[in-house]
Symmetry: D3
Amino acid sequence: MIMDRQLGELALGDGFEGYYILKAAQQKTSVSGKPFLNATLSDASGAMDAKVWDYPGPIGAQDAGKVVRVRGTVGEYRGALQLTLDRIRLTDARDNYNPAALVPVAPIDPDTAMEELATLLASIEDADYRAVAQAQLEKHGEALRRIPAAKSVHHGFLGGLLMHTLNMLRLADFVSRLYAPAMDRSLLLAGTFLHDLGKTREFDFSELGLVTEYSTEGQLLGHLVLGAREAAETADALGVPAEKSMLLQHLILSHHGDPEFGAAVLPQCVEGELLSLIDRMDSRAEIYREALDELQPGEFSPRIYALEKRVYKHE
Amino acid sequence: MIMDRQLGELALGDGFEGYYILKAAQQKTSVSGKPFLNATLSDASGAMDAKVWDYPGPIGAQDAGKVVRVRGTVGEYRGALQLTLDRIRLTDARDNYNPAALVPVAPIDPDTAMEELATLLASIEDADYRAVAQAQLEKHGEALRRIPAAKSVHHGFLGGLLMHTLNMLRLADFVSRLYAPAMDRSLLLAGTFLHDLGKTREFDFSELGLVTEYSTEGQLLGHLVLGAREAAETADALGVPAEKSMLLQHLILSHHGDPEFGAAVLPQCVEGELLSLIDRMDSRAEIYREALDELQPGEFSPRIYALEKRVYKHE
Amino acid sequence: MIMDRQLGELALGDGFEGYYILKAAQQKTSVSGKPFLNATLSDASGAMDAKVWDYPGPIGAQDAGKVVRVRGTVGEYRGALQLTLDRIRLTDARDNYNPAALVPVAPIDPDTAMEELATLLASIEDADYRAVAQAQLEKHGEALRRIPAAKSVHHGFLGGLLMHTLNMLRLADFVSRLYAPAMDRSLLLAGTFLHDLGKTREFDFSELGLVTEYSTEGQLLGHLVLGAREAAETADALGVPAEKSMLLQHLILSHHGDPEFGAAVLPQCVEGELLSLIDRMDSRAEIYREALDELQPGEFSPRIYALEKRVYKHE
Amino acid sequence: MIMDRQLGELALGDGFEGYYILKAAQQKTSVSGKPFLNATLSDASGAMDAKVWDYPGPIGAQDAGKVVRVRGTVGEYRGALQLTLDRIRLTDARDNYNPAALVPVAPIDPDTAMEELATLLASIEDADYRAVAQAQLEKHGEALRRIPAAKSVHHGFLGGLLMHTLNMLRLADFVSRLYAPAMDRSLLLAGTFLHDLGKTREFDFSELGLVTEYSTEGQLLGHLVLGAREAAETADALGVPAEKSMLLQHLILSHHGDPEFGAAVLPQCVEGELLSLIDRMDSRAEIYREALDELQPGEFSPRIYALEKRVYKHE
Amino acid sequence: MIMDRQLGELALGDGFEGYYILKAAQQKTSVSGKPFLNATLSDASGAMDAKVWDYPGPIGAQDAGKVVRVRGTVGEYRGALQLTLDRIRLTDARDNYNPAALVPVAPIDPDTAMEELATLLASIEDADYRAVAQAQLEKHGEALRRIPAAKSVHHGFLGGLLMHTLNMLRLADFVSRLYAPAMDRSLLLAGTFLHDLGKTREFDFSELGLVTEYSTEGQLLGHLVLGAREAAETADALGVPAEKSMLLQHLILSHHGDPEFGAAVLPQCVEGELLSLIDRMDSRAEIYREALDELQPGEFSPRIYALEKRVYKHE
Amino acid sequence: MIMDRQLGELALGDGFEGYYILKAAQQKTSVSGKPFLNATLSDASGAMDAKVWDYPGPIGAQDAGKVVRVRGTVGEYRGALQLTLDRIRLTDARDNYNPAALVPVAPIDPDTAMEELATLLASIEDADYRAVAQAQLEKHGEALRRIPAAKSVHHGFLGGLLMHTLNMLRLADFVSRLYAPAMDRSLLLAGTFLHDLGKTREFDFSELGLVTEYSTEGQLLGHLVLGAREAAETADALGVPAEKSMLLQHLILSHHGDPEFGAAVLPQCVEGELLSLIDRMDSRAEIYREALDELQPGEFSPRIYALEKRVYKHE
């Protein structure tokens, strides 16, 4: 019996036991009238179909997304591996498993990333902008380190928001030096750091930390307005001059670049314009990275919803 | 010498003296090399061209929008009346004129209107929504009574915001009864009252109260975000439940209906949807009213910028 | 044996007999090679799945939408009630059932509604507009009382056109008083009444009165052009002045507001502008009403096709 | 004294007298305080600036578009010919001039064109479609022969509608043979002939036959709806089957191809689709012809409003 | 045993043997655990479902698009004919079948069409344009005669590109005479002939000549750029003046009319404008022809993707 | 007499002589009937109005853009300096002036910039991409060093294309390291270098090197297609593999990102996607830099055509 191995490492004929996410489940009845469960299990290494024969419940579609403890063997169906389970149960507080093994995580080291991010914020020359950024880091650091940046479009994994924010800060740092002195580096870096912090309130998260849905205030107010308001409150509390608070809010409210893409206002200062392009650049680079990962050289992807086109992986 | 008469009532040959707005001015030099001033004077009754011959200054283009004291006679040029001024000076604090005679005002009685508005707010059934609305009325009542609703598109006169808000409240009241019980009258009325209060900060005003330009925060943040934030702060201060505060903010943020027209988020509850349509209805009705006022029956207007079309005045 | 009861009131174990609509049917073959019928029955209270075992026909997919007489018992399948029928036959002229029990109807009393509508038309001050409206009421009153306003988007039930038209007339009446004297109440009310009468020719109807499909002229000419032409003919027959006939046609042709939404011309008089907004307001209010009906407080709907967004039902 | 010569043939120093259109006029005052008239005269050969010194009126801006009798001499100003007039008066019924010399006319022979058009209509195989077309030719032949097809975009000269209609009929004839038997030649030819006849009511015309403005019903109903209604009435009067009348109306209502370009409905039968493309092809060919006429080989035109681009005349 | 008959001519009960395309295939397992193959066979006459019972492979989904040799009998299932096969194998080089019987071909005679096309090219008056066209015909004649013009939208059958090109040349010939002398017939005909030759490199083709997919350079560069570059190289090789080469490239690059539809540049000379309209006309006519072929008079089609609407087949 | 001083350094009362650009000129007649010239002179420091009294020509509007030699004095008119010239003549080959003093130039040192650019190209790891880039640098280096990147939108000064290309290469270098290994640095750098080289053929240049107009092939083919073709020819000549040549062409053809902005194809590989964003980022940064240069802190610009909005210069 193989214990707690990643799905991607199981082989035909293996007996195994372990914790996995019940990604999907459907109760069915066989032609002979017997109930069985059609399920999909997943962990950070991928997903696999599973059958639980003669299974009357109670586990079913309503348990999708939960962690289960299962025991079974690895078979084959139409050329693909398929699991046959003889035991399945929901986990509870007494179960002791490693969530990081079950869900996808950003390909970065969170400690190093947080450290680099803190260093970049500490390098903000303007004391007001730096103070707002550091106060917000204090408040949201724990969430930032952990949550995804999206439900699915890009960076939809644990640590996604951190990876996205750090890459954008690196770009902002480079760009502000390239276009100095026509640009206020302090404003650009602070705005870049703050731009997506409203996402901590825009989503509902599963117990494992993935985004399951938009929250009600996420849908009715949006992470731009939520984030701008919080930045304003922090700036007020710190006694930051009104003009600077207004500029930070403007960067957050305009960072989607165009009302068509969700911006509450159009960017009208150069730092806001560049923030929206830096955001677009990092999002697009990541969408491509995730899409090209699934392709062989010389292949085109299927149509990618967020890009409204197919992409090509060259040799 | 006729004193302080409306421009629209002056007749050819009249000598006159009075206060008017210097709507526009241009320093010119005649072919004989003498300086003169080409000016346009205005008051609530309209505008008229004026000349100040042999006038070396100091009044000029930089004084447009200010109130002047002038003396002159009414002549004629190419079939239209034209003023020739022999005296012109800027006014200061010691001058005593009636602003209402100088700028256009809403065709309503502000006292009656404020009273009806207060009565409608008092009729809001839900104590939380009513409290927020009344607190904001307390705070902005004075400005609401006075300021225009726009720079020029519609309701661009003193009292314009009050006229617009009151008509919309009347519509909201009717609509909420028509579609009861599928609609929350309290939410719709409170949201309608609050929807444009951010305009008190969106504009810069001339000394006579007209809109001269968007303020900086009006351009960079917009009256939707400004208004929503203030509503949220008021709700917080009054201990209003978070869901209700969120719904009020949602109505304010979405009242332009579509991002294409400036909405920060799409309306997603029925009261927000209807608020955006009530706003559009009252705006359009007023644009037509102002345009038709200039036409004879059977005529088409020139192209109206805000409607992207010409309109027709039928018999 | 329970006779002629609404589906929504049947309980597990009941034997029953009655008339229902065969909403859908599919002939299938079981794994043992025997034919059976997968069917869905519906009435005004909703829909329910049904099986007819060992059934070789002749009833099948081609009979969808017809009324059937069935006998059976109420069982259960995967937690939901399911009917097992032992008899099923198509109805013919000799069957005597109540259509109102089988299809959804508007939540209004048609007699009262028709009366209020007639009163509103009688209140039209201008004799010409009133004459056209009343002549058209005479002609289409019977259909108006009965037909839906749409295939499915909104008001897609018996009496839907009446409910839609009456609510719009109430709005038009209020609005014309609110904006008097800048508006011709007679024109607005007459145009509002006429605006959708072309729908009597735009659709094909099932024997029970629901819209099954667009008619050929409904697709090739559209209800705007059909309605405008009929209004013009009625006006001609009544000797109404050409300008008034033209204005009525203009209101009908432009009531969708924008060519993008099907308007044949842009509204260019204030009554046409407001009619298009009143139409949009009543349509939207009803779409929300129907959508919110399916939701619990705090829930979002699935994406609604006609609105291109999800909607929220607040507490 | 040269009598009644085309402007394009006058030379420096000529004394002349004749009838011309007063294309534009502006009353001015010279620096010495004397009134003079700045005018532009035009005829079919083009336009030329003119001055009437010491002229107090009564002719002025309000007479633009009228025919005047003038006498003067040809001078020069900044390298261009300019007329100095010593006499100018408006014409009346007693004046006897040739309108064809004053306004641009289509480069076709109207008699030959009408004959070819009649022959094409006579070749329509289907008796119903042919009857409608011939009845409408009977009714509108005189106007068709004379009026422009537009105010200015293309074919904006006398005979323009005839030239446009005939070229489209030739195309329709060719296309219907090319795509036979997938196409009904009779429907396509009849629809092509009828498609723009509503323009006889869409415009107001100057006394010389040029389009001065859209008529009220032209703006409020549009030539598509006007034309379709008349076709329907003619078809009814002739007892043409309803399906055929509907198809003719459909072709007229949809001939702009897309609601964005003014179509009341989308073309949904192949003849309507092709009619809209034939219309676009002939319009575009004429816009190019008129634009290229003004250019030298190797030149680009200024931006052409109707095409939203510049065009190139190659060698 | 009936040999090599078209599917459309097989009748219930027939035993048959022949070559067909395996349009689709799916390996399945029956409830009794036995493997079988669900297949669809096709030839130029259409498609039919087939079953191969107790069939463990090796033929399966991966063989879709290949030609198979089968033997079986014609049965019936739910009112439609269905084939039961007892033998199925893939074909190889030794099999001798007629591809033209297996795939749809254009309803034209290719020899006659090629001859007419060559005659039209020979009639090009300008020696340079003629030389380029004839050189390209020399090079691509074989492919032109054979390949489809598209994957599926229109002309998606063998000989489709030839049929499309020839019809467009006929239109170009007519149009250039209709609008002479405002148009360069030589340029229009040469450009029309060349406009789609880049399609020879834009697609990948199945062994039977149908388009299976876009080629990599077809997707990354597009047939407009590919075709323009080849035309330029041919023109260079033949010593054609640069202006003429540029105009040919311009026609090819702009023939989709609008960037929204894939044009690399906007048409800016009259021949390019007309080429884009001729292309649209022939494409639309063919889309309708193919759609109407499937309909009965009085019917509407389902929504046609390329037209974004349904179409109507009149009586 | 001050010789050859920049306009920006002249003071009231100065007598001066020098070379300037005749930016605009208009022949006028004074009220006393004497001819004079209204002119605008410009050099790299700005522009100033000038009068040449009693000047009958020959210099006039037709000489705009040429270099003139003038002598005059500095006066004042309505508070601004104005030049009165007593001599003006066109220059010819014998005149010896410094063009760099007359036209605006990029704020970079061209030698240093060319060196850095060459170093970046030399750092391209892939020998094929490097060879194409270096061959094109060899060919176009001289023009690249000199020409503007646009007529007016941004970088419309001498050296503008070099400044734009170098900044983009710096960004491409940074971005390719940030997103390594998901990106081919060699392809991105080579494509970035090549992307605008077609501009050497897209424009016509004045004798001083500024863009006066689009060239004919610039308008009919565009710099994307021109550049892609040249890259392909260079790649062919160097024996670069077809896939690499295709990718370079794809980057050039797609670098405007969207057909709406002029892209001939959509970017479909990650390097093309990023190139289009890098181009947009550098263009926008420069548009802001040029606009903010004209503003005081706290001011908004007028509407900027290329951005379709106003921009704000913060403190």
